[in-house]
Amino acid sequence: MALHHVESVVHPATLEEAWAEKERRGKTARLVGGGIDVVLYSPSTVSTLIDLKALGLSRIRETATGIAIGATATMTEAIESPALKAYAGGFLVRVLREVASPLQRNLATIGGTIGSAHPWSDVIPALLVLDAKLAVYDGEERTIPLQAYLEGRRGEASPIICTIDLPSDSASSRGTLASFTRTGFDVALLNVACCGRVAGGTWEDVRIAIGGTPGLAARQGAAEDALIGNPATSGTIAAAANAAAGAIDARDDLRASAEYRRTLARVLVERCLTEIVSGTEGGAG
């Protein structure tokens, strides 16, 4: 239904113009990619929308250092990208195929999903474990880790996301996501993403992220440290799962208790890591 609080929509042609609009209008402006989040959740204080689609940021391309996903590329475009289908065993593509419906995925952008930063997002933990970095613009271009963007995004000072950069280091890793929902249409009570590589029976590399705690997804450094360089056995996996479950900022809300979330975290981390070791990862949910 109509957003009566929205008074104007601007279509800047350059990043400089877009940032200048954002700076000038402060909290009354909202950046728009696909626009879903704006339609469903924008607060009544937002009176101007800054449409980013004219900035030419929708390409997905292979670069010298990995893959750069344009911030306004849709989820469908990412799913159909040959480069992403081949990257990390198609992990990100599998995750995206489980998000929302095709009708919504044709609208939703990868940058918009990150900018919305919903705690229940299944895409954000997947990008965290792929070690994604963001090329951003806030008067100057720079690159920051996704985790740093998420930690710093509160308030209107959040930069414009230009591309989501996936490193070539993760291309040969394998990833899996376990998103625990009550129904197929529901958002996650808690989700776990893991991505890693086992060589000669040893964890060469591993990253773990947990979201919906009910806070925003975050990497689990202690659990990762418990694995890297150690044998990929059920014992080390169980220890890492316990470490992750103990480290998350689990809280009660109307959807689940903190205790339930910790139990979910332990079970799902163990399940994801086991799938990576056994090579049976392949489902996103």
Binding site: M1, A2, L3, H4, H5, V6, E7, S8, V9, H11, V32, G34, G35, I36, V38, V39, L40, L49, D51, K53, T74, T76, A100, S101, P102, L103, Q104, N106, L107, F185
Partner: protein
């Protein structure tokens, strides 16, 4: 503001308030085959093709669709000649109350435009954003497969 939309092949200037959705604008312009259901992107009754892709028009602000090519269910038929999907929905009895049908047809049209020979699983995935409260989706899947077969030039069985 005035935006330009090409709706079912015809370019037109359309008045739209900044906060109006594409759904609201299309229905006001007379394209009432675009149904207003949940208005939150869940039911798919409002689906239209935007630049060749099926989207929830309730989730699109009209101002951000300026310059887009839109196809509504009214634009699927070629004059008096129904689209093969519409024919197949009639032949297979894939319509009960009919409220979901326009959106279902649009999602199916998007699918068949890029995958002329889908599996049943791919058909079900393609219409997974279109809720039908009357049926169990079986007849819609069958109708879409029937249409795909006819569009590929296969025999009607």
């Amino acid at each position: 503001m005035t935006i330009t939309l090409t709706i079912n092949g015809k370019a037109r200037g359309v008045d739209a308030a900044a906060g109006e959705t594409l759904l609201e604008v299309l229905r006001r312009e007379g394209f009432v085959g675009v149904k207003s259901g949940c208005e939150s992107g869940d039911c798919g009754a409002c689906a239209v093709l935007m630049n060749g892709r099926a989207v929830n028009s309730c989730l699109v602000l009209a101002a951000t669709a300026d310059g887009a090519e839109i196809v509504t269910v009214e634009g699927l038929a070629d004059g008096d000649r129904l689209h093969p999907l519409q024919e197949a929905f009639l032949d297979e009895g894939a319509v009960q109350c009919g409220y979901c049908t326009p959106g279902m047809l649009i999602s199916a049209a998007d699918l068949l435009s890029r995958n002329p020979n889908p599996t049943d699983e791919e058909v079900r995935e393609a219409i997974s954003g279109n809720l039908c409260r009357c049926t169990g989706y079986t007849k819609q899947v069958s109708a879409i497969q029937q249409a795909a077969k006819r569009m590929r030039g296969g025999d009607d069985d």
